[in-house]
Amino acid sequence: MADLEIRDLHVRIEEREILKGVDLDISRGEVHALMGPNGSGKSTLANTLLGHPSYEITEGTIVFKGEDITEAEPHERAKAGLFLAFQYPVSIPGVSVANFLRMAINAKRDEPIQVKEFRNQLQHAIELLDVDRAFTSRHLNDGFSGGEKKRAEILQMAMLAPDVAILDETDSGLDIDALRTVAEGVQKLHEEQGLGALIITHYQRILHYIKPQFVHILMDGRIVLQGGVELVERLEREGYDQIRQEVGARA
């Protein structure tokens, strides 16, 4: 049994069906890539997995570590060990990165984290993400550049140590250096902590740094093709249109 089991997931937003029956299994230690053209439902899946209130699940289930979380509150999913790195992280003025991290960590614990332990974890994470200490005293995402926002997402991921993380187009809008740092960070967390990851992306370039074991192609609300890393290469050669024609012909 996989840690995260998505079964026949149908999702609607404002009367429009976006996901039309998605099945997906993800476990700790696995790296999955979910690829698809714009509008295929990638971000809908990401937001639905964390319980965004605007997305309505009309059919199907989400089970995480044996618990049905289809109806669970977002913070309960987070506490259970799910994480979402947002495509567009919002700014939280007045709250420093460090303070926010401490709150988030404490939300998962019975006893508040010791100062020293927190400091050590933070030090480890900032080295991993190649940011300086001053970064953690800035207000979260407030006035951050695109690259800084994505680093802050991965920094939070490193500190919160989820079992399964969903990275929603973490690569978009990043220059090559930022992309490398972010991708290497994810790769290390995968190696060190056994992080399971669902990397959602429109492009292929992040997958040059993180090699997925499983690749899924989402089109029009359904996973139309699944395979290994060879699928990424094929996509790079052929593009979404050709795949669309092929699966269209098959259907």
Partner: protein, 452 residues
């Protein structure tokens, strides 16, 4: 100097919101004469109504003034419980506490007393430091704009007087406390503070009441004058509790030549509160930072008129207020930048940000500018917001439950100002009070979110 004509229509005849902007009632009159003149106004005027046409009306006519008395505190009452419960246990330069109509506690660091610092009741100041008190008393405050202002000038007892002489620098704050512990009290609070040349000090005022049921009144008059080169950080924590406390107060801060004042009132509760707050740069080179925060809940009504007055230039100003409202409360803020003729080379900015946390709460904010000089810069800005659902989901996805996420947002909203208090014990009080109000409004905030 050419006088710049103010365009017609910028005068606000329709409104009762005017800066004091001028000489006060003092100026050569004795205390007895002032009391007598004020009494006449008191007897011939009605309880005040402030109307900002098209926006709000603040009426004190539901106050049963006849039923209230200026009773002194019970004999030997000592420091009221609420003071012990609320004020931080921290080093302070001095403290004066007035309960209802009587000063019940005065303490002053003995070394500071030796250096000439005076902290005593205003009544005592008129006996022991008559010349000083008479010189400054009601220098800029009026006594006849409304019945309650007149009542204060006619009937005040106790009161607080602080004088920090020339060149004296005090690290720890002076604390002035007004408390109302039972209903039926009319508290006419009168504070006079003078900062001598190049003095530096901090002043914290606390306005506190127990949670009783029934009416009470605090009609306050506060004046602070900073002489050349003096620097003061002035903060006020006001929380009148759950009782039906009316507060109609006028506060004036005058900034002298090259002097500086950082003023931050935290208005955190009261049944019906009307504050006229005026920070005036009266001499060249004066500078000020005028901050403020407010939080209204349940059926509270708050009306703040904040004036950033520049009487001479060059001068600097920076006004920044933030407020939130829950329940069915009503908060009205009018911020006025007034630059008088001759206040050339004044640069000032006013911003007001507000957040409505429930569907029935309402915050109005009106910035206005009256400029009568041509070589100046004055501008204003502001935002009116609601809770950002995207930010809440973001924090929930990190494990914070919804109420915690709301708290983070609201605290973050106020944090830039709270941090400016630059005084940890005071910051903690304000943070705790805001957290308490949010916890109390939790269901209300929740209902608002699901209704949208």
């Amino acid at each position: 100097m050419p006088e710049v004509q103010v365009k017609p229509g910028r005068h606000r005849e329709a409104s009762l919101y005017h800066a004091l902007a001028g000489a006060g009632a003092g100026n050569g009159r004795t205390l007895d004469q002032l009391r007598e003149a004020a009494l006449k106004t008191y007897e011939t005027s009605e309880l005040p109504v402030w109307r900002r046409s098209g926006f709000w009306t603040t009426s004190l006519q539901s106050l049963d003034l006849e039923a209230l008395s200026t009773q002194p505190a019970a004999a030997g009452a000592g420091i009221p419980d609420i003071v012990t419960r609320t004020l931080p246990d921290r080093p302070h330069a001095g403290r004066i506490v007035q309960s209802a109509g009587e000063v019940v506690h005065v303490e002053l660091d003995s070394e500071l007393a030796e250096r000439g610092v005076i902290l005593c009741s205003l009544q005592e100041a008129f006996q022991d430091h008559r010349e000083l008190a008479e010189r400054w008393y009601s220098k800029r405050l009026t006594i006849d704009r409304n019945k309650l202002e007149a009542a204060n000038a006619a009937f005040w007892t106790g009161g607080a007087f602080l004088h920090v002489p020339k060149g004296v620098v005090v690290e720890d704050p002076f604390e002035i406390v007004y408390t109302i512990e039972s209903p039926g009290v009319a508290q006419y609070a009168r504070t006079l503070v003078v900062g001598g040349e190049s003095s530096e000090f901090k002043l914290h005022e606390y306005d506190l009441a127990e949670d009783f049921s029934g009416q009470a009144l605090h009609a306050g008059a506060f004046e602070l004058y900073l002489q050349d080169g003096a620097r003061c950080r002035l903060a006020q924590v006001q929380d009148w509790g759950a009782g039906e406390v009316y507060d109609a107060s006028t506060r004036f801060v005058g900034v002298g030549r090259d002097a500086y004042c950082h003023w931050l009132p935290a208005l955190l509760g009261g049944h019906l509160v009307r504050q006229h707050l005026e920070l005036a740069v009266s001499e060249p080179g004066g500078d000020m930072a005028f901050r403020g925060l407010f939080f209204t809940e349940e059926h509270e009504h708050l009306d703040v008129f904040a004036v950033d007055l520049h009487e001479t230039g060059p001068s600097g100003g920076d006004v920044h207020w933030r407020g939130a409202a829950t329940g069915e409360s009503r908060a009205s803020f009018e911020g006025l930048i007034q630059i008088d003729p001759g206040a050339q080379q004044t640069h000032t900015y006013l911003q007001i940000h507000s957040m409505m946390l429930s569907p029935k709460a309402r915050v109005d904010a009106i910035p206005s500018v009256l400029v009568s000089a041509d070589d100046v810069s004055a501008s204003h800005g502001g935002t009116v917001g609601e809770l950002d659902e995207a930010a809440i989901f973001y924090m929930q996805s990190r494990g914070l439950d919804r109420p915690s996420a709301v708290r983070v947002i609201v605290e973050g909203f106020f944090e830039p100002l709270i941090a400016e208090l630059a005084d940890e014990p005071l910051e903690e009080i304000v943070r705790e009070k805001i957290a308490g109000k949010l916890a109390a409004a939790r269901h209300d905030i929740e209902a608002y979110a699901t209704s949208r």
